[in-house]
Subunit: 188 residues, 2 copies
């Protein structure tokens, strides 16, 4: 439950972890989350072994880099439910938040749904964190009779995530707008 940084690790290990996180964040911005591991290691000035020791899979690294933002998104759910006029409005706003996060992370949406081995962890993390929040919002909106009630939260999450794929590589495609259409389609 606590912070990882205070663990009984050696000082250089802690330092390298931080360095790697910063380097990864920087490389993700410029080259996307699928950037070669070597690039990240080079940017951080460490060897290949170091990166794999700290983050056994690429998913672990991605999770570590974005954990704060994902958690923030999860925490925003209940808050929106309270502060919004209607549950549907809360759902809409929350999905906007999620979409804003995704479309600004080069290639993240794609890798999230990718069935390539090694990314299940990432998929699982997102689902574990955000699915309950989404489910709660959907349930509230359904109970209020604002949206259809035959939809699983998983489907909505994946649908929204999928719509964000490639949003940054083709200016003609506006993911936010299509998500808007999808969310409109949820209404009864």
């Amino acid at each position: 439950m606590g912070e990882e940084g205070t663990k009984s690790k050696r000082a250089d290990a802690r330092r390298n972890e931080k360095t790697l996180l910063d380097a990864a964040a920087a490389v993700f911005v410029t080259s996307g989350v699928e950037a070669p591991v070597r690039d990240i290691a080079a940017k951080a000035g460490v060897g290949m072994g170091t990166i794999y020791r700290h983050f056994p899979t690429r998913a672990d690294l991605i999770i570590a880099v974005y954990r704060h933002q994902v958690d923030a998104c999860a925490e925003a759910g209940p808050r929106l439910l309270e502060s919004s006029e209607t549950p549907y409005e809360a759902l809409r706003r929350w999905i906007d938040l999620f979409v804003d996060f995704l479309v600004t992370k080069h290639g993240l949406a794609a890798v999230l749904q990718s069935d390539n081995a090694g990314f299940e962890t990432l998929h699982t993390y997102f689902l574990d964190t955000l699915l309950p929040v989404c489910a709660r919002l959907l349930e509230a909106a359904a109970k209020a009779g604002e949206i259809r009630s035959d939809l699983e939260a998983l489907e909505v999450m994946r649908g929204v995530g999928n719509l964000c794929i490639g949003a940054d590589s083709d200016p003609r495609y506006n993911a936010r707008r299509m998500v808007g259409v999808l969310v409109a389609g949820l209404k009864t």
Copy 2:
């Protein structure tokens, strides 16, 4: 405009092209469209050189394998527009056709939107073939006042394609249903 198969090619070349197409189709079914080129070559019983001579990029091979089905989908558009009660109904049915095609092709939807180099050709082919059809259906439905008129055909196509990604690798995700929601969201 005519058939390629009748070109002035050597007999063995024509034979290999057919063999490769069949092998590729078989491998795509079992291993997805991202299957290693070596696997396809092995299945066809030819060398690497042969496959690349006939299909310079993987996209060319994929296009060749699915050309007939894509063309059939394109041709179904105008027919549906005539035979359906309303333009919106035609649009809905046409999108169903497109989705049925995509979800039964392991990994095709993903590679269609992938920004990996080498697949632009594939993306372009699909767009060139299907975009005009989709645009016509959208326009008809918009003119009839059944759907919003501020949407580009490209967005709708990409949105639908995106929703189909991973449809076959997670039984909990029903792409058809989410596309249904999206299409419902198009209504005015």
